[in-house]
Symmetry: D3
Subunit: 221 residues, 6 copies
């Protein structure tokens, strides 16, 4: 089985899917990550960008990611790029990976980049090709999903819980490799907040840690 | 794998899940049906009730259902029965079947019985027991799901499509065994309407016939 | 009575409203179509664009459309055009046609162009002018409306059904004139899928074929 | 044309539809009202009930109502009556009136009686009979619609505005006949609040007074 | 200031509002609790009911609750009680307490009792009395709020976060007094799950623990 | 206490929050207004723009606004400005004012500028800074909030009512200073429509005039 995680920014894939990535790699899946944006030099010091890139590669190596695609669109400025250019690059990755399972960010996250990446992924995932993607899920991202205007129109409503009791530690370690991104608790992008969310999601299904997702489309052939 | 379909009234299980039942039995699943109500003698002639019961049994035999549970609560009067009595009987069935996959009616269907059955099933399916149900779906029921007030609060939003291209014929045959329930097109509970829905659902995922469901809870252990 | 159908791309007007167009022309309505985009030469071969244009004109002639407005904004790139430019051109058409009834695409369709056209039409249709538009509806478009993320925020919830039993054949014939756009079943933009949807919508109101719409604003003077 | 207004309690028909009733009677429609509950003697003094009944009859006479059906189910206790009993009585009225247009309360109103009446009316209005009801709307009721928990699940979202500029006075007069029900402003069931709502709804479509409705089902044959 | 917490079952008030109760009592508020149901002897052993009652009283004493009202309606059977009887008893409590702030359960919780209590409280809280309740909130209840069908119609969407960093310990201690109700982690009604939720809610606003609520109605005079 | 009202266009702050501004200034609050756009010279005559600017200043002086920030982004063309540029300028204002309470437009308003301003304000208001904003509300804007497609995805659902009985006159006078913007009734941006809305909102909580808001985030420290 081949699995693809689409991340607007490096670290979203760990925040949202880190435990599941570790678990499914253990099961023998080939897991790929597509990082859509990187900081634009005009807004972020180049050193930081290099450091972030190397953190991503290290975290992915640690988790056992098969390959990472960096599309290098400019973060926070994604909506200034023509949509079809983003669409094409994301589609290229999908075509190359030919995934069975795809994880995309929640369209209702606060960050406009998350919305655009969600939308662009859905265009690439239209069920019109020979190769059929069997499962598409959206994931939650601490510090994005919970800060939007509270309204049903953007609500993240999980319907799938994946037990990561045996993989929470690896998720936390992968996250701590992102030393430029991880913050001190009580910031939501901290190890302690990540752990709290994992426990809470776990308790919903009676296991000690879980990641929760919202199924977008499953096809049973 | 063990699968349970909870039907408010005999024939809902075929309308909503008939093709999938046939497909999964072919795959080797044990499939059970729980029919929650039967017509109350005060409202329906006894002959009709007997006929309906025998149609259900024949349809289930035709499909290869392992066992059918008739709870015999009164149709159209389900809301007059104390909720905990319904809860207990439905829970008994769940405990006996120990299903891996459960299909329940859409809570937003127009018929009050569907709402109550959905609610009562969810109580029985709380993830607090040793045995974990891995997947719970709601299904759509022609002549119920589409006749409610059009509002997001009751909208049926499918996220799972099961290819029944090879099983549509068996679904239609099972439905025609329900001779007291099947109507002439253009009634929605007619073979032609069922076929139209199957084709439409199929076209969404690029196959010639499908049944569509809304995932309520999936647990990946 | 004057009726205007706003289509993001040529063929959406037939997919969504084809039967109703035929029916209302029979009733004596003057029906106009506004096609907002056309393929951009940078993305589509010019031959194809010419062919598509002539298909549109032929389909409209076949249906008896009074006049077609081609705004020629670039398809798939509509969000790169300043919104007020699109607004002004759409408003010009509305002002020229002075319609009593308007059909616009569903804002929640997957294609960004559909969302933009819906929004821009609503700006032009603000009830602030002397001439009052009496009815505004959104229509569903196979291969767009059903492929978006399943969420109440984009759900198409029809509340108006127009019987097209006597006009389904003309809708299908109009669609088959769009030979560059029509696909083989089980693609949703195929004649067989269109027929299945028409039957399903018909069965909801007890007729053999219907088109379903969601009323946006009706004014009874 | 025949029009039926279903009111949970006497005065709801005037609060929600009073101006439209007057307007459509002027247009030549036959308008009927079905009042589902009356106060139960155990909860309200009999004098009051008699007075309320006579107010209803006088208000209806003033408006030109063709006939009023009093079902006399107990107010505030409607949920203790078996649903099918309410269903049958409401269906009887529908069958007798054979209406073309029906107005029902908003299912999301705060008062449980409104919810039940909405639901029971929808059962009676399933499009399965020879006689087809062409339009079903829900209306808003001051002091019910705005007091529920603010949530999209019960939101009243109007899509139809009927100009009652020439009929607001008659609506207000009809309401003042209900002397036991009308309150002093700033109570929402006061003449001044009714006027404010009518002006607000009117301003949305550019007329000086309107009533707003949410279309539930329209069939165009 | 006077505050009232309405709890369907003893322990809901601590699960949902325990930290805030402690905090506001520290601020000098008078806090009252209304426990709507108690287990019915037919379903629960009498010993257990006595024990639960004494736990409630102890927990309330520990927190500094001014007074507790036990309405003693039967748990799990609340929907069999005539609604107006529940309404009256809840209203009596509101009238006696004359609260400024009220906390009620989330109407969308899975347990039918929660829905009924929410609804009945809203009837009693209609803003028609001399005494005006200034703030009404709904609270979340672990093991109820997260187990319902995932749908926007019942989604709990918090918009108010109360910092309980200094009161989490007291909340946990109050909960552990409910020894018959508290479970072992990973059950959601365990101390560890309560702590995880408090941390998560805290992280959203940058404090180490919080309780989250959804504002239903605030009046600023 | 310091309060900030973010207005997409000059006059939105009065339409939505005018009475509350007057009331809170009376209470001793310092109130600031941030007007995000001004008409672009290419679309509006310069005279008009000057006049509108001076009306804004006069209205604000009349109300007692402490300071007004004009960001001078181009109206109706806001979506053509890079989002991060708008974000930065709005954030600068927030940082300068350090508000306790913020009012922003409803994200679901029809005008794209309102949506963008809502979104950009939420980015600036992420709870990650030392200074914590205690309350964020969205306000309704006549002629914007009610003209969008009626759908739960954009519904304005108020949960906070502020009594402006003693301040409605000042709101109306402030609005009439905007002589270029105020229209004749029945236009929704007329004094009579504003009064009708204020009365209606007042009647909901039993006072003679109110403004209604939807709480987005409240933090109680």
């Amino acid at each position: 089985m081949r699995m693809l995680v689409v991340a607007p920014h490096a670290d979203d894939e760990v925040l949202g899917v880190g435990g599941t990535i570790a678990k499914y790699i253990d099961k023998g899946y080939e897991v790929y990550v597509c990082v859509v944006t990187s900081g634009h030099p005009s807004m972020f010091p180049e050193d930081l960008l290099k450091k972030l890139r190397s953190e991503a590669l290290n975290a992915h190596k640690f988790l056992g990611i098969k390959d990472t695609f960096f599309l290098d669109f400019p973060a926070v400025m994604l909506n200034e790029i023509p949509v079809h250019e983003v669409n094409i690059k994301v589609l290229d990755v999908i075509n190359e990976v030919q995934p069975d399972i795809v994880f995309i960010p929640h369209y209702g996250d606060m960050h406009l980049d998350h919305y655009i990446v969600s939308q662009t992924a859905m265009v690439g995932l239209r069920p019109i090709r020979e190769h059929k993607v069997l499962e598409i899920y959206s994931y939650e991202t601490l510090s994005e999903t919970e800060w939007n205007i509270p309204h049903t129109s953007n609500a993240f409503l999980p319907n799938t819980w994946i037990d990561i009791s045996d993989y929470l530690d690896r998720k936390l370690e992968a996250m701590s490799i992102y030393s430029t991104q991880v913050k001190e608790f009580p910031h939501p992008r901290s190890l302690e907040a990540i752990k709290a969310l994992a426990k809470l999601r776990g308790s919903t299904i009676g296991v000690s840690a879980a990641e929760a997702f919202s199924l977008i489309r499953r096809i049973v052939l």
